[in-house]
Amino acid sequence: MKIYICEDDLSQRQHITKIINNYILIENLDMKIQLSTSDPLQILQAIDQEQSVYFLDIGLHSELNGLELASAIRKTDTHGYIIFITTHDEMAFETFKYQVAALDFILKDQGNLKENIVRVFQTIQQQLMIDADDNDTIAIKLNDRILYINLKTLIYIETLSNHKLVLHAQNKESLITGDLKALEQRLPNNFFRAHKSFLVNLDYVDHVDKKQNLIFFRNGASCLVSRRKIKLLTEHKLKLN
């Protein structure tokens, strides 16, 4: 994996580059520092779509600041790991996370720089493992927004009045504005429209109670199924298996 570093303070950049190089050597990681520079434009010219790691200084005193650089990088490398180097004052982790999906940050004015960098690499390793299993987040364009839905953890979708949908997933629930029909068309085959108000993920279905017209999921939740769809449901499930 390639590593890019952008920090405009010379001594700090040299220090960080040295620490990272040592760490890669000692831990024998399959990574190398592709570019270490103070000029964000150089970074933009050097990157490609391959998933890489980026250490970016937030307070760059140049045409682009750290956040703008990160946004530009995101457009090319959508899955790369962005790590911000920041001071306590400039720290804005929530913004980093929401605006450019940054992975982690290093505080350069607090604590031991080496320890911070080691910790960040551990986070990267963890994330690599998670991402290997999880290729199932799709981006769906609804109205004029882009929704990111993780297909593996999504259990079922329920409609509420006023064009609102509740997405029930394993560890969280989301309430968004959207149209169930539009979603149904864009989700893969294992999603089945069991009822006017419910779209279910067949992978999570535990059993169907035909008397009460209910579908029970593996996590204990349940939802309605219309009588007409029960037959279709069993057929559909057999087809998938």
Binding site: Y98, R145, L160, N162, S174, L175, I176, T177
Partner: protein
């Protein structure tokens, strides 16, 4: 007669439904049970009055039953006005249909009330008039955006409801079965005209009330700005103190440097950074984060709300990394501020302050503003300690807080519906409750 009464009740519920008073099947079943009980009791007790008056009395009783039920569900205050309005509407429609029957088909009133086929015809007319009028009024209320006003302003609802009730009572005191057909028609027409005039006046009145409320909001904004100024002055004073302390501390460093005592210097340096005394001047840094919010109404609101959380300033963070100059034009600023205020209040109220460990510096509430492609995105994230059901939280009248009306999120919904360039997404994870308000630039 019981048939007519039940039909009236059905019409009444339909009216309520049109005025967005939500009654689920369970609600209706309870109301039906309560009504049967109330009617039965009343009929048993009073059985010697004129048939017509009993009917109206029993129907008025229905309002009471529904009102009691709503009171039990704590939804009465916001919907009170519509209960009375629907009653008036049905009365009006009933009377109008009888007048029409008389004027166009020359059927005397006494006959209308005794023959089944005329009664049925009356009912049909009444239904049509009622439903048309209810739809019409609903449209007007939505067009002039008066629902939120009627839901929240008790004084307005009460004044208008009382006026309506007085009219109804006045009408009843004039109507008498012994009147000639002509007299009845005259009285009915006068009644009808008065209603129309009063309806007109009411809408103008409500509209002006809305303006008043808007002005009051602007006043609040001004007040927030004044408080912000005070905060700013306080921050300046703190900063001067800090500068003074800082210089002293730097002077302390000189000693270690002169004697080349590196380990002593290191210790002193890290001790100073962790020193509470300096950390206390974080007040300055808090307001610094607000500096990037160049929209002054929002800045004031944030300063006001967060100022009250001074004690917990280590446990919340506000991030506005890039300057935000202007609000995208799809929503007026006072409405956006209202939404923001409701969301922040909700987030603060969801926090259980007893469980917050100030020393841990863990963030329990974070407010983030950022801009992306001409959109303004606000994310409010708070930790919560009770279970929330996403399907319920947006209904008017739902609240997990005791003694609370639960109107905040429903109000936001109403505001968002009026401005199509806005979206609110909600997410619950195991630890946090996250609200994301996106405002687009209208093309």
């Amino acid at each position: 007669m019981l048939f007519i009464l039940s039909y009236y009740c059905l019409l009444y519920w339909l009216c309520l439904h049109t005025f967005q008073v939500i009654l689920s099947i369970k609600d209706l079943l309870w109301i039906i049970a309560g009504s049967i009980f109330a009617f039965g009791l009343t009929i048993y007790v009073i059985n010697f009055f004129n048939y017509n008056i009993i009917l109206m009395l029993l129907f008025a009783l229905e309002i009471l039953v529904v009102a009691l039920y709503l009171l039990f569900q704590k939804r009465l205050i916001s919907n009170f006005f519509f209960l009375i309005l629907s009653f008036l509407l049905i009365l009006f429609a009933g009377q109008t249909s009888e007048v029409l029957m008389y004027e166009f088909f020359r059927i005397p009133y006494a006959l209308q009330e005794s023959h089944m086929k005329f009664i049925l015809a009356d009912l049909i007319f009444m239904t049509i008039i009622t439903l048309l009028l209810a739809r019409g009024i609903n449209y007007l209320l939505q067009h002039f955006k008066l629902y939120s006003l009627l839901h929240t302003s008790i004084i307005n609802s009460l004044i208008i409801s009382t006026a309506i009730l007085l009219m109804v009572i006045a009408f009843f005191s004039q109507v008498d079965n012994s009147n000639s057909n002509k007299t009845t028609t005259k009285i009915s027409l006068i009644f009808l005209i008065i209603i129309v005039i009063i309806a007109f006046i009411t809408i103008i009145w409500l509209h002006s009330q809305k303006r008043t409320l808007q002005l009051r909001h602007e006043q609040e904004t001004n007040q927030q700005l004044v408080e912000y100024l005070y905060n700013l002055e306080y921050a300046q004073a703190e900063f001067r103190k800090f500068k003074h302390d800082y210089l002293n501390i730097l002077a302390g460093l000189a000693g270690y440097i002169e004697t080349q005592d590196l380990s002593g210097l290191k210790n002193y340096f890290y001790k100073v950074i962790n020193n509470n005394h300096i950390a206390q001047t974080n007040d300055i840094f808090n307001l610094k984060s607000l500096q990037n919010m160049k929209i002054i109404e929002i800045k004031g609101l944030l300063a006001l709300k967060l100022g009250k959380l001074h004690q917990y300033r280590n446990n919340f963070r506000i991030e506005i990394v890039n300057p935000i100059q202007k609000l995208p034009n799809s929503m007026p600023i006072y409405e956006y501020n209202r939404c923001l205020g409701i969301l922040i209040d909700n987030a603060i109220e969801a926090l259980d302050f007893h469980q917050i460990d100030v020393k841990s510096k863990k963030t329990h509430l974070s407010i983030v503003f950022y801009q992306e492609k001409q959109q303004l995105i606000l994310v409010i994230k708070n930790s919560y300690f009770k279970n929330v059901n996403l399907s319920q939280i947006y209904q008017a009248g739902f609240s997990t807080k005791p003694q609370h009306q639960g109107l905040g999120l429903a109000n936001i919904n109403e505001i968002l519906q009026q401005y199509p360039g806005s979206t609110l997404d909600t997410e619950i994870t195991q630890e946090f409750f996250i609200q994301k308000l996106i405002l687009r630039q209208a093309v």
